[in-house]
């Protein structure tokens, strides 16, 4: 029964996300436009060989990141509509509630991006099934980690406007200082500090693993997939733990009021 309650919390967040039909449709249109317009045009400008599939795979990870961030906005929405009080009054433990939300936030992002990943795979072509499964697993962890990260930031910042602006800035920094859109060698070439930061960026880990899994790792020269895998696992562990802990403390301290 207790495990069921955790699943119900997860289920709620997943179902809720898919109620935002307008957002989902617009995001999907944005994703397809990015591929059909920006990807095709930019790949003609860039000297990197096979940049188009490279970009498409990076775009999938970026979309996953954006969708997993959305749970933070839900938290503000709930505080505004008083739904938080309702959730806190339910016969569900605080831990179940917090953990369920982190998992739900990641899972729904993954479900949403799933079809987009399928589009990516169709565009990219070749797939090594075993590598792909491992890459998919790492994307799962990445999505949960981003969800925990979003919850952590959302409960630390009381204003939804500030959260919105901060996430925009973080998105710009985290995504741009990663290998989502360009290979690491080019980032390092531009500035060694950028390259160093990109090396430890979870978006880099997820993007590299996805490309490795889908068989286009040649252009990123990923020698050892274990390192980004460990990186993703660490990111997941830290933010699931941190998000859970901080959310839990804020709830108990009445910080949502």
């Amino acid at each position: 029964m207790e495990a069921n309650k955790l699943l119900f919390v997860v289920e709620r967040d997943v179902r809720l996300f898919f109620q935002y039909k307008f957002l989902i449709i617009m995001r999907a249109i944005w994703f397809v436009s990015q591929i059909a317009l920006f990807g095709i045009i930019a790949s003609r400008l860039v000297a990197v060989p096979d940049y188009f599939p490279y970009y498409v795979s990076g775009l999938s990870v970026m979309s996953l990141y954006s969708a997993a961030i959305f749970i933070g906005f839900d938290i503000y929405e709930e505080a505004e509509h008083g739904v938080f009080e309702y959730l806190l009054s339910l016969p569900v433990s605080r831990r179940q509630l917090v953990l369920g939300r982190s998992i739900g936030g990641g899972l729904r992002a993954f479900i949403y991006v799933g079809p987009l990943i399928a589009v990516s795979l169709y565009v990219i072509g070749a797939v090594n099934p075993l590598n792909f499964l491992l890459a998919l697993f790492s994307l799962f962890l990445f999505a949960f980690g981003v969800s925990g990260f979003s919850i952590t930031v959302a409960v630390m910042i009381k204003s939804s406007d500030r959260f919105d602006i901060l996430m925009g800035v973080l998105d710009a920094l985290i995504v741009r200082l990663s290998t989502a859109m360009y290979p690491l060698a080019y980032v390092t070439q531009a500035n060694p500090l950028y390259g160093w930061i990109a090396n430890f960026n979870p978006v880099t880990f997820a993007s590299d693993l996805f490309r490795w899994g889908t068989g286009i790792e040649a252009i990123i020269t990923l020698n050892n997939p274990l390192l980004p895998l460990l990186g993703v696992m660490l990111f997941f562990g830290v933010f699931m733990f941190l998000g859970t802990m901080i959310y839990d403390r804020r709830i108990e301290g009445g910080g949502w009021q």
Binding site: F8, E11, L16, Y20, G82, P91, S93, Q257
Partner: protein, 320 residues
């Protein structure tokens, strides 16, 4: 039998504002306890503390056998709440809301389906079950909020202004459903600022004002506690003589007698049901026929004025 809820010195401060001030109260199992007070009196804060949503600054309460500070999860397992403001995101539908609520509260699939349909139908929300919340009126949203508790049938149901924004037919329907819920074994805490609602539904009424519990008893006893609270208006065939005036004042439970017009008397008294035959008898003996006689009991409004010195409207304004 031990009370199902025992509140001891419960206090909540928000900064310098004391929302609930050393509140003490016992709620018996199976009763409907009305918490009567204007907005801002501390009813909702008390409810949120009982539901372990917010922590008390001081004092505590036991719900069932569990302390709200030590066993909040166990406490929440006994409770079901219908909030004052419907708590729902605008993209949700009534069906999603109540169905998910029933799941989390542990109802089996079969029972859940049956009860969700039954309650939504009786609240006339079945047709609108798949409409988004933003398309519903305030009253419909309130009904969805109430549906959660009615489907859950918790051991202790807390309903905060359950019929606000609901039309008179809907009010009666909800009152009947709350009475049924009580009859099926639930204990109900009804927070309200509607005097009539508190009067007709509650087995006992507690008056809260500025975070303090002023008095708590049955509506009858609260009304009887006002000396001279009962009123009899008598119209006589002829003008009342001074002799009748004096005789009336001699009755033990008569507090005051006023002559509104030459033929009209107003008598303030206690225990109207015991005194009235004696008055009628006296007037008959004095050969002073009665044209009409009207009895008025004090309302909870009078009780509220008696204990707070303000009408509930005045208290509401002073609390804003």
């Amino acid at each position: 039998m031990a009370p199902i809820i025992r509140i001891t010195d419960l206090t909540k401060k928000f900064g310098n504002v004391t929302a609930v001030d050393h509140l003490n109260l016992e709620v018996e199992e199976g009763e409907i306890l009305g918490l009567l007070g204007p907005n801002g009196a501390g009813k909702t804060t008390t409810i949120l503390m009982l539901a372990t949503v917010i922590r008390p600054t001081d004092g505590t309460a036991t719900v069932g056998e569990y302390d709200i500070r030590k066993n909040p999860e166990k406490v929440r397992g006994l409770l079901g709440i219908a909030f004052q403001e419907p708590k729902m995101l605008w993209v949700s539908t009534p069906w999603d809301i109540v169905n998910w609520h029933a799941k989390v509260c542990g109802l089996s699939t079969e029972e859940r389906k049956r009860r969700v349909k039954e309650v939504l139908e009786s609240l006339e929300m079945w047709e609108a079950r798949h409409r988004n919340v933003h398309a519903l009126s305030g009253g419909m949203r309130k009904r969805v909020e109430m549906a959660k508790v009615l489907i859950q049938r918790p051991k202790i149901a807390i309903v905060d202004e359950p019929t606000a924004q609901i039309d008179i037919v809907g009010k009666h329907r909800i009152w009947n459903m709350l009475t049924e819920l009580r009859d099926e074994g639930s204990t109900i805490i009804l927070a309200t600022n509607e005097l009539y609602e508190a009067d007709v539904l509650s087995d006992r009424v507690g008056i809260i004002h500025r975070g303090k519990m002023l008095v708590c008893d049955t509506p009858k006893k609260l009304k009887d506690s006002i000396l001279g609270g009962d009123i009899i208006d008598i119209q006589l065939e002829e003008a009342a003589s001074p002799d009748i005036f004096q005789e009336l004042k001699k009755f033990k439970d008569v507090v005051d007698v006023l002559q509104l017009k030459p033929f009209n008397l107003r008598i303030y008294l206690n225990k109207v049901e015991e005194v009235i035959p004696k008055i009628v008898n006296m007037l008959t003996k004095k050969d002073s026929p009665i044209v009409s006689l009207r009895m008025t009991e004090p309302s909870l409004d009078d009780v509220f004025v008696h204990y707070t010195g303000l009408t509930i409207e005045e208290a509401q304004k002073s609390g804003e």
